[in-house]
Symmetry: C2
Amino acid sequence: MHVAIALYPRFTALDAVGPYTVFAFAPGWTVTFVAATAGPVTDDAGSLTLQATAGYADLTEPDIVVVPGGPGTVEALADRALLDWIASARGHARWTTSVCSGSFLLGAAGLLDGRRATSHWGWLDQLATFGATPVGERVVRDGDIVTAAGVSAGIDMALSLLGQAVDDRTAQAVQLAIEYDPQPPYRCGSPATAPPGLPETALSLIS
Amino acid sequence: MHVAIALYPRFTALDAVGPYTVFAFAPGWTVTFVAATAGPVTDDAGSLTLQATAGYADLTEPDIVVVPGGPGTVEALADRALLDWIASARGHARWTTSVCSGSFLLGAAGLLDGRRATSHWGWLDQLATFGATPVGERVVRDGDIVTAAGVSAGIDMALSLLGQAVDDRTAQAVQLAIEYDPQPPYRCGSPATAPPGLPETALSLIS
């Protein structure tokens, strides 16, 4: 299986590297970071730069597409080359997926019309703009479109897809290999469990 | 606060990018990837390349040091420049930390003698080689030395340190910003919960 992860300026690093690490540990799988052209792409904080090793034209038939989110999605919504690649790659891929606000790019590429989809809790409702039905779950599958909630949710999505693509045992082995037995220090990772006012503070960090 | 994350060939991406993302979202914090010299460093799978933007000599007084793990630790144990930088930076840092097998590099730098420390479950016992007391917990603090278990445990460690360095509210806001409300698809992320035989399969993926 060949996984293509799209990069664009001001993506959020963990959105991309969570799924990357899961898929890269899957035996025999290949993961490639793609962008308009091969070269460095810098994240939202401006202090992490990942190399894209392929341009869109080099990787037209991935088996899985992953589109990360981040503040850069706002500008990327007008990036016709990226949106066209997503729409075209989707024609070959078994799953076209997103993490966080990456779902807005799937929407702008025309993939969410009539679909159930999720996104970061801060912008979930806005998915309706693209004809989607917003769903407040961590991973939402609707046919070949799979969307994950904010940032860290891409890890859960990738493990789940790996289990479907190969088998549960392989995904379990990767989960154990990355010792994914999470013990968050607080119980506030979703608005449902967060104390009053915390969502506003959290949004101020990422907007 | 200035966080320095050390990179070396064949590190594991999520070990570095989990803590990176947490600290990079902390208001006013700076995170820098350092290596022997500034430039690209490629991970264990060979398909992710991160830019180090500083050499060791450029960043001698970080407030927090993070040393990721990965198969590359085996060669890095003999990397005198890296080990000397870790030992020297520790003199200034409030916390010197590791994720996964990164704790072996803390050990080789002489930082674990007589300390409680953790590592990836697959190699935990070997920490005793460095005079450490191996502890099978997700995050272990012993004074200024903080070690995390395998790969994904760096996220928990970083959130916990952020809470200590600033306050709980700030760390909670970052946890909510990255929607860290994990829902692993399987209950097998540690050897204690994994089905028989899975640890051997998992180790075959990362050895």
